[in-house]
């Protein structure tokens, strides 16, 4: 899967949330999306997910434009938003069954059970998702996207709700996902963790892309760019 973003911009009324975004992301890349609050990270993720339409510009996945009607393209995109996108009144297992059905990727009972075991939810398969903590819901989302296996996986601030074990689980999943040639783009304020995982970092500030480089060690250019916009707390 290859992602091309060309002159992408999004305005909410008179406010430009994003402007002049150009990106080319190769298969298997892990991209950390960083920036202060209000920089446009979530807007960019929503645009890439096809949940909102750009004001100008275009997004292509494997050469196919991401338009509202392109259901085959949409089937290749995942968005992991912690504690969201799950039905509270469905059980853990029913949520997995419903979403795998929606993507026409019906898993066998044993496949679903294995996915739940891998995220530590095997014993809670019959519980309502609404009874789970935010961290447990995030684990359920990890199980969901592991089963759906999207070519482009977007993550919006996944660390906030996970415990240490959950973070390890998420990072193992993300590394394995990239190893399959899939793209991962993660927006996060946990800079140290994001940098540890990523192969490339983007810094957004006031809707513009201020930094875009492959990871290096040491990385003085990132340190300079990062210091311009963000406090050093995470590093």
């Amino acid at each position: 899967m290859r992602l091309i973003v060309n002159q992408l911009a999004k305005a909410y009324g008179y406010l430009w949330a994003l402007r002049h975004i150009d990106l080319a992301i190769a298969p298997g890349e892990f991209v950390a999306l960083l920036g202060p609050n209000g920089a446009g990270k979530t807007t960019l993720l929503k645009l890439l997910a096809g949940l909102i339409a750009p004001t100008t510009g275009a997004i292509e996945l494997d050469g196919r434009p991401l338009t509202a009607n392109a259901s085959t393209v949409r089937g290749q995109i995942g968005l992991l938003a912690p504690a969201e996108h799950l039905y509270d009144q469905l059980t853990v297992l029913e949520n997995l069954r419903f979403f795998t059905g929606l993507y026409n990727k019906y898993g066998s009972a044993s496949a679903l059970q294995t996915a739940l075991e891998e995220v530590g939810l095997a014993g809670r398969a019959q519980e309502y998702a609404g009874n789970l903590s935010a961290g447990m819901k995030c684990r359920l989302s990890i199980a969901k996207w592991r089963l759906l296996d999207p070519g482009l996986l977007l993550l919006d601030e996944p660390y906030g709700v996970l415990d240490g074990n959950g973070v390890d689980l998420l990072e193992t999943f993300l590394r394995a996902h990239c190893a399959k040639g899939h793209i991962v783009i993660m927006a996060s304020h946990h800079v140290a963790r994001a940098l540890n995982l990523c192969g490339r970092a983007l810094i957004l500030h006031q809707g513009r892309l201020h930094f875009d480089e492959p990871k290096q060690t040491p990385w003085p250019a990132f340190d300079r760019a990062f210091g311009d916009f963000l406090p050093r707390g995470g590093l």
């Binding site: 997910a49 096809g50 339409a53 259901s71 968005l79 969201e84 996108h85 009144q89 419903f98 929606l102």
Partner: protein
């Protein structure tokens, strides 16, 4: 995956959620019954006015009751941003429309099966043999209501005052359905058969088919705008 298969999956999910929450069906049922009692105490229906008044009162009850159900139609999708999860998926938006319309229709029919006989009893109406014909007219009218209701519920989904906006948008659009249904019921009650009401029946049927097709075709635009 076909449109019907996707719609079936969504409908099963909605029915399962309703079985567990029961808020829409119970609210609609109690509200519908309550309205009948209010009408019963408010109107003294003389036997010679039954054919003219009964259909209008009955449809007033259905309209208000149905609007309550429509306000809750996308509640499960609003919680936890589940609508985003659906829009993110390769789901055909027409399937979402069919599933929501089907779900709303089932709720409305469940309420009507109780409300119509209760109306007959409360107003001491004769002509129980006319109930099958009245149910047929009601079914066609209810399909029209659910089709238009689902479209307008989706249009007002992201509006701040959606509960207020929904009837304001829906009721004017419903005028042809209400008019045709009331005229049909009136004819059945007066003459005991559809007789002169056949054109109104055709109008209802045509309205249902046309708006069901339009709904499937435009729902992607409606839900994503």
């Amino acid at each position: 995956m076909t449109l019907v298969k996707q719609a079936y999956l969504l409908l099963c999910k909605d029915l399962l959620l309703e079985m567990r929450r029961r808020d829409s069906l119970l609210t609609m049922f109690f509200f519908g019954t309550l309205l009948l009692f209010v009408f019963h105490f408010a109107f003294d229906m003389p036997p010679d006015k039954v054919a003219e008044l009964a259909p209008a009162l009955l449809w007033l009850a259905f309209l208000f009751t149905g609007t309550l159900g429509l306000a809750q139609l996308f509640q499960a999708e609003r919680d936890n941003h589940c609508l985003d999860a659906l829009l993110l998926s390769p789901l055909d938006r027409g399937a979402l429309f069919l599933a929501k319309t089907g779900f709303n229709l089932m709720l409305m029919l469940a309420v009507e099966v109780v409300v119509i006989p209760l109306f007959w009893i409360l107003f001491n109406l004769s002509g129980w043999n006319l109930l099958p014909q009245l149910f047929l007219v009601t079914l066609l009218g209810t399909v029209g209501f659910c089709v238009l209701g689902t479209i307008t519920a989706a249009i007002t989904l992201r509006a701040r005052a959606r509960e207020l906006l929904l009837p304001l948008v829906l009721f004017p659009l419903m005028i042809p359905v209400i008019l045709a249904t009331i005229r049909c019921m009136e004819t059945v009650l007066k003459t005991g058969s559809f007789g002169d009401a056949t054109p109104w029946l055709r109008l209802l049927l045509g309205f249902d088919v046309i708006f069901l097709t339009i709904g499937v075709l435009i729902f992607d635009w409606v839900i994503e705008s």
